[in-house]
């Protein structure tokens, strides 16, 4: 390998004493060469993001680099540079793209000004303002944004997440840096947009022969773009090597576990369960449009969430509803839970009409249908003990407090948390544990239908697979019917025996996972499949 563009030797990042552990990163060494994409992969808390920030000296206050560490860029050790020298280098020789496009741009400044700033800061060639403007328009065009002249004059809030990330990339590449640090640039984006950004980074890297350090937690992404892979856990490198070596023959058992946990690779059910009795849940011609009025004269903005949805779910079936953000999948779940009222259409549950029920009927209905939400930190009342949260449901329907708490303890045991959790508060649990508590709370009322709205999206891959396994077990054991809402086709394929694909409030296709993956009918399903990161790699794996 030619001498490396960037060589990190023995990097240790010291956390402030109040932190939960001494080092965020311990004695990390890795090299990035010219014209190469190195993927740094690991779960949350592995220190992968800290490493990238350390290179550019963007560590948060009170977090320092151990004196022994060395970060050498073309011969100069960055850790020894003073602030002025470091500033000269940032955005010029090394630049960085961040995870949250929505908040990464200054909301009060035009796009053009923010992009131009990157050049103005390093204007060694003394370009005139108009020359800079032209360079900005050129780079914006290069990252594939439509009508660059119009983009330059608009404000961040007028652009979508994907477009803003393209602006960030344009800003980063304006000074033709030799090294690009990309800290999970596509995690916050929709699958289809993620695919476009990944392709963009690959093409730009190849054209400019840059070194790229790409940080991600998703092995699918690694499979798609990585030349070399570095796997991290708790601040240490557990394994390092070329993509094929690491993915095909992982040495370290942690890597093996991570790859195994990637959803959607196990045997998929191919056929419907075949039961044709009266469906448990039947939705006919459901319509819902959100209307937001911004000004007296400005036209009200409308968003169509449901445009004539027909869906029926058999008892005991697990139907997953897949779609990008804005497709209306979440609203559908909330309408079934009667949290949002539809404009028109009917919903029948076990033969009874759901909409327009009187209070008593609604109460009875509520008992049979429960929901689990996405954000573990927002779905539990911080001021309420976990036992009470679970027991409240049954107590409302007449159970005594003692019985309800006993049942709660049993449920906590069943979801793998142990009865002692009853008297503890939510902030004492991790994200995965909290989702287990939410599941226990949902099951306390012994519902017939369980709706999981992106229930695992916020979890790390390994924990994600454990929770999915738990859900599958409980469903079989209690004969539950489940509607699983997700944006990740792989998770949908893993858990359900029927996949429904939604786009802009309409169901475009429905089929068993096996059929869908084998020959998708609808064009949109094809683009969704195509956009799934690491699809062909894992499929070969599957096929091979």
């Amino acid at each position: 390998m030619t001498n490396p563009l960037l060589s990190i030797q023995d990097l240790s990042i010291v956390l402030p004493s109040s932190g939960d552990r001494a080092y965020a990163v311990e004695r990390l060494s890795l090299d990035i060469a010219e014209n190469e994409i190195v993927c740094l992969v690991g779960e949350s808390g592995s220190g992968k993001s800290m490493t990238a920030h350390a290179i550019l000296g963007l560590l948060p206050p009170r977090v320092t680099i151990d004196a022994r560490s060395r970060v050498v860029l073309e011969g100069t050790d960055l850790t020894k540079l003073d602030d002025a020298a470091m500033r000269k280098l940032r955005g010029e020789r090394i630049s960085m793209v961040f995870q949250e496009p929505m908040s990464a741009l200054n909301p009060l400044q035009r796009i053009g000004a923010q992009v131009a700033e990157a050049l103005q800061l390093h204007n060694t060639a003394g370009l005139s303002a108009t020359a800079i403007e032209e360079r900005c328009i050129a780079i914006i065009d290069a990252v594939g944004l439509p009508s660059p002249r119009q983009i330059v004059r608009s404000y961040p809030f007028q652009l979508s997440g994907g477009q803003r990330q393209r602006v960030m990339i344009a800003m980063a590449l304006l000074n033709n840096p030799r090294l690009l640090l990309a800290d999970e640039p596509t995690t916050a984006l929709d699958v289809t947009t993620q695919r476009q950004i990944l392709d963009l980074i690959q093409t730009l890297q190849a054209e400019r022969k840059m070194g790229v350090l790409f940080i991600t937690h998703d092995f699918g992404v690694v499979a798609d773009i990585a030349d070399r892979v570095v796997v991290m856990r708790h601040g240490r490198v557990v394994e390092q090597g070329t993509r094929d070596a690491v993915l095909r023959h992982p040495q370290h058992e942690y890597t093996q576990a991570l790859i195994a946990a990637v959803p959607g690779r196990h045997a998929r059910s191919t056929a419907l369960s075949g039961k044709t009795a009266e469906p448990l849940l039947k939705i006919e011609q459901l319509r819902k449009t959100f209307v937001s009025k911004s000004g007296l004269f400005s036209p009200p903005r409308t968003v169509v969430a449901a445009d004539g949805i027909d869906l029926s779910i058999q008892e005991g079936e697990t139907v997953s509803v897949v779609g990008e953000s804005g497709s209306g999948k979440s609203t559908l779940g909330r309408m079934v839970m009667r949290l949002i009222e539809p404009d028109s259409g009917t919903i029948t549950f076990a033969g009874q009409p759901v909409l327009g029920q009187d209070a008593a009927a609604l109460r009875a209905y509520r008992k049979q249908v429960q929901i689990i939400f996405q954000d573990p930190f927002a779905s539990l009342n911080p001021r309420q003990k976990v036992g009470d949260a679970i027991a409240r449901g049954p107590m409302i329907y007449g159970a005594s407090r003692a019985d309800a708490l006993k049942a709660a303890a049993a449920l906590l045991e069943r979801v793998g948390l142990g009865a002692s959790a009853v008297n503890r508060f939510p902030h004492e649990f991790s994200g995965g544990q909290r989702q287990r508590i939410s599941i226990a709370r949902a099951l306390a009322l012994k519902p017939r239908l369980l709706i999981a709205d992106e229930a695992v999206s916020a979890l790390d891959v390994s924990i994600q697979s454990q929770v999915l396994a738990l859900l599958a077990e409980l469903k079989a054991e209690l004969g539950l019917t489940m509607m699983f809402i997700t944006h990740d086709l792989r998770v949908a394929a893993e858990i359900s025996n029927s996949v429904v694909v939604m786009q802009k409030g309409r169901i475009v296709e429905r089929g068993a996972p096996g059929q869908l993956f084998a020959n998708p009918q609808h064009a949109y399903t094809r683009t969704l499949l195509g956009a799934m990161p690491g699809l062909d790699f894992f499929e070969h794996k599957l096929a091979a």
Binding site: S95, L296, F297, S298
Partner: protein, 329 residues
């Protein structure tokens, strides 16, 4: 382009309609409140001017329409308010409007200068403290802000008078201008400024403390935002980041608070006008309340409420200048 212009007009129209509605609501609210007072205004009028016989009382009641049933009194009153006829003050022997207009410039001068001092001072000190969070200058400014915030404003006024005009003799202790001495326009302005200095500064100090504390926490909040990290990643220096990115964003909550505080700022002017003998609306109200001069009380309340709405509109304008999103929405 005309869509945006139409929207602008629409927004202005809404604001004007809101202003009229609020003024009418306040008029009704004041009217009820003032009539709830135990004292009988006619008697007060008689009592004050020494005329004490029944005939005089009857004449005053008739003149003010105090004998008519309440709804008609309210209706006539609202009718007049719309025509800007705020009634005749028996006490001042002239129309309420002229009494108010004569005192309005003094109050405007005081409140606007206090508003400017507090906002500019608050922003500067607040951002200084915010940028140097945790260091000595931060703790000093925060402590000073806390102490001023906790000081009774009239006591502060009295102490400043003691210091600046009695001990040091730099500034006049009270009044609006030196009277009886004809001065050239320039000397007149300087003289007016010297009289304005202490009252405006005292009234401004309290709100300066409030805005400084708010600006400090706002700057700290903004420093955690992602776009600040982006700017650093571009190689921008801290000072450039502060001026180009942080200040404007940090100003937004401060300006909103300034709008909300407008009401209390004008309320505060009453005390200041008493301590510094400043012939403004605040003191006119205080005298009117004590002399039960209903017409003046209602009139001043209306004008002050319109003044508060004016201040809200002013801060709203300031907000639009800082935040382009609203215009372009």
């Amino acid at each position: 382009m005309n869509l945006q212009w139409l929207q602008g007009l629409g927004a202005l129209g809404v604001r004007l309609a809101k202003m009229v509605a609020v003024v009418l609501l306040i008029a009704i609210f004041n009217f009820m409140l003032v009539r709830a007072a135990p004292g009988d205004p006619a008697l007060v009028m008689a009592g004050q001017s020494g005329a004490t016989d029944e005939a005089f009382l009857k004449r005053v009641r008739a003149e003010y329409g105090l004998d008519q049933p309440m709804p008609t009194q309210l209706a006539t009153y609202l009718g007049k308010v719309v025509r800007l006829d705020l009634g005749y003050s028996h006490r001042q022997q002239r129309t309420v409007l002229s009494a108010i207009l004569e005192r309005l410039p003094a109050t405007l001068l005081l409140t606007l200068s206090a508003f400017a001092i507090s906002l500019v001072g608050g922003v500067v000190l607040g951002s200084l403290a915010g940028v140097r969070a945790g260091k000595l200058s931060d703790t000093l400014i925060s402590l000073l802000a806390l102490v001023i915030y906790a000081t009774p404003v009239f006591w502060l006024g009295l102490m400043l008078v003691l210091l600046f005009s009695v001990q040091l003799g730099w500034l006049p202790a009270f009044g609006y201008e030196t009277i009886g001495v004809t001065m050239s326009t320039w000397a007149g302005i300087v003289d007016k400024l010297k009289h304005l200095a202490l009252p405006a500064f005292t009234l401004g100090m309290l709100y300066l403390a409030i805005y400084a504390r708010l600006m400090r926490s706002s700057i700290i909040e903004v420093s955690h935002q992602d776009y600040v990290k982006t700017a650093r990643a571009k190689g921008a220096s801290d000072s450039r980041i502060l001026w180009r990115h942080m200040l404007r964003n940090a100003l937004l909550p401060v300006v909103t608070m300034a709008g909300v505080q407008a009401g209390t700022l004008i309320g505060g002017s009453v005390v200041i006008e008493t301590v510094f003998a400043w012939p403004g609306l605040g003191r006119l109200t205080y005298d009117a309340v004590l002399q039960r001069d209903y017409q003046v009380m209602l009139g001043v309340f209306l004008v002050l409420s319109v003044l508060v709405i004016f201040f809200n509109w002013l801060t709203d304008l300031l907000y639009r200048v800082i935040d382009p999103r609203i215009k372009a929405a």
